[in-house]
Symmetry: C2
Subunit: 141 residues, 2 copies
């Protein structure tokens, strides 16, 4: 029953739509990216190019790893480096038409998955929170 229901619901029905998703631009300096992450409170967000195509994701861990020197965090490096130099490009991606079964399989290993159309334009993100809420709804109906 659960699988049927997940297989009949699309990623597009549950995802957080692009306009509500915090993101950074591929050419931003790391200092700006870290500011966006700290102010939004998110540990990682999508990276888009100037045409709003999805190019990767970036998180606090990889930024802080870049500036972890031998003796201290070398925070001055943050203004020298750009998002595209450290972002993860090899990321799982879904389309709005994919089913939640595929979504759930990906969310086992990733806290969120980016959704984009066939031309690569960013549509939104599917999160673990959204799928857990859906599973709970299914259980109690």
């Amino acid at each position: 029953l659960q699988e049927q229901h997940l297989a009949s619901t699309m990623v597009g029905d549950l995802m957080i739509s692009s306009e509500k998703v915090a993101h950074v631009q591929v050419n931003n300096p790391l200092e700006h990216a870290l500011l966006v992450l700290v102010k939004s409170g998110y540990s990682a967000v999508p990276v888009l190019d100037s045409s709003y195509r999805l190019v990767g994701i970036i998180g606090k861990t990889v930024i802080l790893n870049q500036i972890l020197g031998l003796e201290r965090f070398e925070f001055e490096k943050l203004s020298d480096m750009r998002v595209h130099e450290v972002m993860s490009k090899d990321i799982p991606q879904l389309t709005k038409e994919d089913t939640l079964v595929k979504g759930m399989n990906t969310l086992i290993n990733y806290p969120f998955v980016c959704v984009r159309d066939k031309d690569g334009y960013f549509d939104g993100i599917l999160t673990r929170r959204a799928i857990l809420k859906q599973i709970k709804k299914d259980i109690y109906t």
Copy 2:
């Protein structure tokens, strides 16, 4: 069927046991805590006292928020402040005997939940990844 199965499985069966959980001590300076978080790669970890009792959790966001000055990140503050000054103490907690139904309800809003015994000693953590893997197993059996 799903609810029955989640209701008959205990948190203790799925949790990551304490010895495998990265953590920091309540009196550590923030610089040490941030180092543990960056090196382990985790965005947040439990905080324990010297008797290994659970006292809270701490994450990169709250540490970086502390040092976010008007013009730049004031990284020198990291050696002045301690974990107990910024950690979250008001956190959901489970016991090993709680069922996964209670676990799942909590994981809707938290990426992980700390597990401790009746005397407050830290037993482990229940993660979203663990429950999503279990739900997937249930669906395909």
